[in-house]
């Protein structure tokens, strides 16, 4: 018995986090259907489920320390540095957004359990996605995660914007999935492979110069499918509408989890599958990076809705992160650093929004922030820290991440991209500082009254703001972690 499961590589610790989340959703479903459970019990169940998930992620570190990089389930699931960091990131996103998505689920009428189940299922799908070695597995994980997110965007059914966001997200997201899976099929047709490591082995076997055009197109289609999910231009059209229309309490989670997992997968593809032919994709990546930062900056300047502004800023940040991923291993470590710090700021910004404008609101104008500073000092200060972090002001983590990224690109001699990125950073201060100006400095007659913040929100916001400052002053720990992540792939 033991022999067979060892040969097949069946190991339940590796998919432990996914199983833990799945089990939590089943318990929630059971509690809703059979016995009428009070709402706070559901809260504890889902919170304990997330804690157990974090514990199983911790167990994976033990397995990794013992066995190193290993494939499981007959080369379907991979345990390497990328999957560990991806797991930790998704666990962190769940933990940091738990408060805001719980509050949103509480006020959404009669759909508390549905919302929780959708969120936990999507997290389990994305966990599967960052663990996947086989591309089919990657596709399934991506779909489990995304389909839950489509439904989550439209959960506030009374609101027309929410419906609209859901349909747009669904149509464009499915198109991206179709493109991705057709890329996998083309790769299978041309080289009879469908795995991350198989790709690099096949390419080194036939030689980088003899790679058939079909498999190059296939790889590009896989990359396009993933770039859709991170909203890099020219595939960014869905992001502003979805961010604007979805219930504010969920947007932080939706944006962060999709970005984190897709970028981890992109980093792994770039470090392993494409390592011998990365220079063939130079033009593709350069075009996407420059388009993303320019289109994001161009559209962000004239937004009146602040959630759309953050969406377009997300397009710019995608360009930044992608620029590191696409040009080599040191760039990948810089990008992962950028990704981690950006996700903390993103979640922080959306937590502030959901506190100010209510959990279910879809529209949120910049002018709604006016006079925030008068009565709500804490909210304004944390909001400003997050915005300045995204903008990249010194003393915040945003500056350090941009600095590391650009110095790395400089050493790869990508002068064109460096110039564009620097200019965008400077231009970005205009639209990042405007909401802060409206909230804190501009004089206004109808300022926002005192907003009650719960203790948990206060602790969370303080923690995220402290992290933003901490990584800006002492980035060494995180830099070492990201260096450790890539040192096997040099």
């Amino acid at each position: 018995m033991n022999g067979i499961s060892e040969i097949l590589g069946i190991n339940f610790v590796v998919i432990g986090p996914t199983l833990a989340l799945l089990f939590t959703t089943l318990v929630l479903l059971f509690c809703t259907i059979t016995i009428s459970t009070p709402v706070y019990v559901k809260k504890y169940i889902s919170f304990v489920g997330i804690l157990i998930t974090l514990f199983t992620i911790f167990l994976k570190f033990g397995l990794f320390a013992r066995d190193g990089i290993t494939s499981y389930f007959s080369e379907k699931i991979l345990l390497d540095e990328f999957s560990l960091v991806g797991n930790v990131l998704i666990g962190l996103v769940l933990l940091l957004t738990f408060n805001s998505f719980w509050k949103t689920s509480e006020v959404i009428d009669n759909k508390t359990t549905e919302a929780l189940i959708l969120i936990l299922m999507s997290a389990s799908g994305f966990l599967l996605m960052v663990d996947a070695e086989n591309f089919i597995m990657l596709f399934i994980g991506l779909e489990i995660g995304s389909i839950s997110l489509y439904a989550l965007a439209g959960l506030n059914r009374g609101d027309q914007l929410s419906n609209e966001a859901s349909l747009k997200y669904f149509l464009l997201g499915s198109l991206a999935s179709c493109i991705l899976i057709y890329g996998v099929a083309l790769l299978y047709v041309s080289l009879s492979i469908s795995g991350v490591y198989e790709t690099s082995i096949a390419i080194s076997f036939i030689g980088p110069d003899n790679v058939p055009l079909t498999s190059l197109i296939g790889l590009i289609m896989i990359l396009v499918g993933l770039l859709f999910k991170v909203a890099a231009a020219p595939f960014q059209a869905w992001a502003p509408d979805v961010y604007q229309g979805s219930p504010t309490g969920y947007v932080g989670y939706m944006a962060a989890v999709a970005k984190a997992s897709s970028f981890i997968v992109l980093a792994r593809l770039s470090a392993i599958s494409l390592r011998f032919i990365l220079d063939k994709f130079d033009l593709f990546f350069t075009a996407i990076v420059i388009l993303s930062v320019l289109a994001g900056a161009l559209f962000a300047t004239n937004q009146t809705d602040i959630k759309r502004l953050i969406a377009y800023s997300g397009v710019i940040q995608s360009g930044f992160i992608l620029s590191g991923i696409s040009f080599g291993v040191y760039g990948i470590s810089a990008s992962i650093f950028y990704l981690i710090t950006y996700i903390i700021q993103l979640i922080g910004v959306f937590t502030v929004f959901s506190i100010i404008s209510g959990q279910l609101s879809s529209d949120f104008k910049i002018s709604n922030l006016s006079g925030l500073f008068k009565e709500n000092k804490f909210l304004t200060v944390t909001f400003s820290i997050f915005m300045l972090g995204i903008a990249g002001l010194p003393l915040t983590s945003g500056f350090v991440s941009k600095f590391i990224l650009i110095t790395n690109l400089w050493s790869y001699e990508k002068y064109l991209i460096v110039t564009v990125l620097m200019l965008t950073t400077v231009a970005g201060f205009y639209f990042y500082l405007r909401p802060i100006w409206v909230a804190a400095i501009e004089k206004t007659d109808n300022s926002i009254g005192k907003i009650k913040i719960s203790i948990s929100d206060k602790v969370l916001l303080g923690f995220m703001a402290a992290l933003t400052i901490y990584f800006g002053l002492l980035p060494n720990t995180l830099v070492n972690i990201t260096r450790w992540m890539v040192e096997n792939y040099l």
Binding site: F139, E143, L161, E164, L167, K168, L171, V189
Partner: protein
């Protein structure tokens, strides 16, 4: 006279995928766009099956099962979303979805 080789199937699936893709770009009706997505997924299935038959491997055929399951799941969620919009404005055209723009 004509021998039907794997190439024919692959070409057919590429044509089907392109039809789905351009339909997605051109058509405005959400249901038609939805059908285009299904068409593209089935083109992927055809590619997998013909390649699998060509190589004499089982991998591609297994992949088809997974793609089919995913397509079914997408149908469920997608139709639910379209129905919930249709109830509000009695039209499935994406032209009326113009509240959020900028």
């Amino acid at each position: 006279m004509f021998e039907v080789t794997t190439d024919w199937y692959l070409t057919l699936s590429a044509i089907l995928f392109s039809i789905g893709f351009f339909g997605m770009m051109i058509r405005k009706n959400a249901l038609i766009m939805f059908m285009c997505i299904e068409l593209m997924l089935n083109a992927v299935n055809l590619t997998f099956i013909s390649a699998s038959k060509h190589f004499g491997q089982i991998d591609g055929q297994i992949a088809v099962f997974f793609v089919l399951v995913v397509a079914a799941a997408e149908v469920v969620v997608g139709l639910a979303i379209i129905v919930s919009i249709f109830r509000k404005q009695s039209s499935a055209s994406v032209d009326v979805l113009n509240v959020s723009r900028g």
